[in-house]
Chain length 160, copies 2
Amino acid sequence: MTKHETEIIADEKVPTIEIIREFDAAPEQVFRAHVDPELYAQWIGPRSVTTRITRWDPRTGGAWAFASDRDGEEIASFYGSFHEVRPHERMVWTFTYEGEPDSVALETLTFEELEGGRTRLRVRSVVHDFETRDGILSSGMDVGVNEGFAKLDELLAKGT
Amino acid sequence: MTKHETEIIADEKVPTIEIIREFDAAPEQVFRAHVDPELYAQWIGPRSVTTRITRWDPRTGGAWAFASDRDGEEIASFYGSFHEVRPHERMVWTFTYEGEPDSVALETLTFEELEGGRTRLRVRSVVHDFETRDGILSSGMDVGVNEGFAKLDELLAKGT
């Protein structure tokens, strides 16, 4: 399996984080791994935690929530809304870590078809200020992103 | 009735719009005028249009949609999600004008109690880039905001 690099870009001018990553699978499959709760729970986040989905309605106007468990104990929980779900193409959702309830990110995911049945995923998050953005960047989020995408590579390689 | 000024602030450093406005009513009343669909439809937007609510579930994780009609014809429609509804205190929602489906704003409303049973409302919107933000500012949104808040003053004065 090709090992793909993940780019994590902090814009200098706007409080955004852009994550760019290619996958050896079609947009339909990468999209499905984001909306099917059983698939999503298998790959999201770092390897040290398991994901327990508690609310999941992946439609425009639906909502979601999940908890992260380590050694059987909840260590964090997250929730948000599916602002828009445009199948195989684009998804916009909101994201809050319940430990910082006043902090909300707006994330836009696009699934771009590449040659050879591959996909370029872009995840662009915006928050209200640079302090919040820089706090997310320095939280160790890159570990979760990189390990999560490696698990997603493995899941996609199974062809599920 | 006191005529209140509305401040509309475009931040130089982040692609946000902040709207600040005081009302001669308690946070509970101003909040209710934002979540009760019958009240909301009576004041939101410019005087030249009427608002027809088509979806409304003002709870954390709920969704909303409404259309603006002029002379009985729909001229615009909007939709989004209620990311968080914290009664009488704070509301976070997403906002898309269907004419520009890829443009999404994340709006945080706070209802701050002032002396004398009054309220300071702050609406802080963030989008992904300055171009989108400046497009919203130059769209004539200030007319809708100012006329809408004048209608809200009238509605609150009735004590409903």
